[in-house]
Subunit: 270 residues, 4 copies
């Protein structure tokens, strides 16, 4: 869907996912660091597991909604790939977008499986997420509109970060950077929608050199805004967890050895 | 051999190798994780060693078959490099392909040596595999047909993964990703054969923009298919090993310390 | 400010920062290595913390000065982005430079926060520094003047090194290399000023091929000079710390275990 | 010196250095692995240190010889940079080559210093070697002759490997790969000399497409040859050390704890 809605939909998905990641990772990180204060009860391994499963399910649903929207809504190819009467491919752009969603669906489904049944290493979810981002980047790489090119920095950056996370799982900095870039990607999708398919009458002159420079600047400000958003989410969750912990009575930790406490966090198991 | 067969041969080699790697690595990983259940007997170090030696021998044979096919079959240069009568190089494309196979032959031969005699670190096999893939990528880089360019993502990806494995040996995710990309490369070689040298009468219009987009999409679907194949192989081997282990009587493990058990796996020795 | 001063200002900032980093990191490294000799008193954790906070504050001030200079000095847009009377963007180049400074301001502010209050991992300062350098590189990437292109090597090199430091915090080699590249960047900004806006009457012929080669050579000599500067700073600080330590009376260290001593250095905490 | 000799000189330097590295690193690795058999006496830390110092001195001398040859031999600029009478730069190509040698001279001098006096971390030698290779690559990057472009793979590969060695010091695979690429670079410099300045009358047609392909193939064969050379050196040194150790009487090792033995190798200290 080369349309405003076709950009607003993934934009919203990425915005929600980015905000969710910022909140989740901060929550897990904060409870991990304040373990001795009884945070183990706030984020036990069972709860972590349930959160991850829910996350996988949500990503899977988002991707399926996206795929159906691309296929069925206004002018979609309705799962028909080749029109033999006109000897033409049917709406290849929609098929491209469907393929992008497909890899996120795979990542979601595998994340669901990995966290609900013990059959593969946990880091598999990040590996497939990296693959999904690489795939998205490669497909968008073929469009040579400047606003899409800027998107690629965020996408390949995310793919690279997910790959790093396979080896440095549980590093809060990488997790927050991933959330930041996801929010950037989401808000930039909305911006692309407004630039390429302006809802108002005023057309945007894409050839104008000054406009190109302005769009690049705009991109930087989106990044600064995404950083700010993640910082706000981080601080809110941090304060919430701390105030919650302060109200909890301390439990006896003397019997737990450091090793056992660490294992409680699912994120630290490779 | 710029021909259908010249692509089908490496395609088959890579498909077989990819499937084999998926099965082997899953087998080793599963027995490693379920060691306490007596899996040590299923995959003792001697058996692992024998598997690796066999693998090296098979890769070596594949490469030699490939080199001979390039040199001797229909229109090959028959080991003649320069035709002094016409003052022309003889069939440089076949020589290119021979050179590609040569580096895989070196990798196979070294893998054979490293695992049969204790003279060099084990990770040498992955290092040379990385070199062979880099070499393949660099030679294919000179052809600027779109279908070959797509192949490069898989090839350089593999080279990069093999290099990572030199430092993170025994990481099942990297091993499965390597298997996936090998299967992708194999199936894509077949696809290239069909696109460039269609056996049927219908010619494929390579210039058509829509066809280019379709081929790129097709590549993504090959990747999804390769992921599915590896997942199926992974689950089959996992179930097979688990059901086999359940039928085995438990052995006394109390006397083995964790350290000693780990060392049993050849993959974890750097 | 596409002017001599617009290059001299960041040039001076980077030169000062580079020299400061070389001195600071050498000081911390030397006291860390000679801990047993009583250096703990020279660089206690509280002093380290205060140094880092000061550094953050200085970087923040530099960035704010830079932003104000770009906005308010001769011909700046005075915080007006769009001139609706002429329907033109106002001085986009100054806005670009302001945006570059903005990310260094963010990095400085976060460094200040991270080191003064215990709310996030320390490595966050390097992560944001990496982001600021990436951002600077991306914006400068749009100018295709040869002298600016050379600058990119230093900038992206720095971004990469800061990213490595997130994982290898406290590695003196990376820290000194960062200082070296910062000095290189600073002195090269001055050079750019002289080349593009020569204060003397003699114009510099930028098209001339020989001049291009000479500029590249010049860049290498700047690098050699930056290396020399850092070496001189390193040796001076090393001698100063050593001579200072020799004059100090040894303290009783027998009661401290190795672990406890290490923790004293803020740089080694991730 | 854009001449045959100007390529033969660095070619010889790199060939000698590559062979030396292959032998040295194998020697250190073999004695390290067979420590229990009394190899400690063959390669004590003092001897290692002396070897490294000698190596630094040799690299320094090579670089100084190279610089002097570029400056003083047939048509060199004799340390004059600018000819004010003709208002022209003097022989910028020789100045380029001098600059390349300069960075190797810095690397050699620092290696000498680091290993003879305990003032900086040992890994500094590899860091500066990486810098020297990056610098060489960047300067050669400006020549767009195909034979020089191929050289860049080896040079940037070496720079990357030296950088990896900063973090994975003492990894024999990286060390041997560095030796291999150095030999490749050396033999390829000779090849370039023969291709660009053929001593015989027959001119080499550089535009011819087939020749370009042949040169690329040739490059791969140089790589295979370099791998073979390193393998031969590796096996010779391995056998020599082993036969030497077999003839030595075993010493009492019972009193040494594992930790102490490890420290004996200079390569493992970061």
């Amino acid at each position: 869907m080369g349309s405003f809605k076709g950009h607003a939909l993934p934009g919203s998905f990425f915005l929600i996912t980015g905000l969710w990641w910022a909140a989740k990772q901060t929550f897990l990180y904060t409870t991990r660091r304040n373990k001795s204060a009884g945070a183990g009860r706030l984020a036990s391994r069972a709860i972590q597991r349930r959160i991850e499963i829910m996350e996988g399910a949500v990503i899977l649903s988002f991707s399926i909604i996206g795929m159906l929207a691309e296929q069925l809504l206004a002018g979609g190819p309705k799962f028909q790939l080749y029109d033999s009467s006109t000897q033409h491919w049917e709406q290849l752009m929609n098929w491209q977008h469907t393929t992008m969603y497909l890899f996120f669906a795979i990542a979601g489904a595998i994340s669901l499986t990995v966290h609900s049944r013990d059959i593969a290493p946990l880091a598999l979810d990040r590996m497939l997420l990296a693959l999904a981002f690489f795939n998205e980047g490669r497909i968008l790489d073929m469009l040579d509109v400047h606003v899409h090119t800027l998107l690629l920095y965020a996408i390949f950056g995310q793919a690279f970060i997910c790959l790093l996370e396979v080896f440095h799982r549980g590093n809060i900095l990488l997790e927050l950077l991933r959330a930041t870039l996801t929010i950037l990607q989401g808000s930039w999708f909305w911006q692309i929608g407004f630039v390429l398919y302006p809802p108002s009458q005023v057309k945007w002159d894409q050839i104008d050199h000054d406009n190109t420079i302005f769009v690049t600047l705009c991109y930087c400000w989106h990044l600064a805004f995404a950083l700010l958003t993640v910082a706000v989410v981080y601080l809110s969750v941090l304060c919430a967890v701390r105030s919650r912990l302060r109200r909890m009575p301390p439990i006896e930790m003397g019997l737990l050895k450091p090793r056992e406490k660490e294992v409680e966090s699912e994120d630290e198991i490779l």
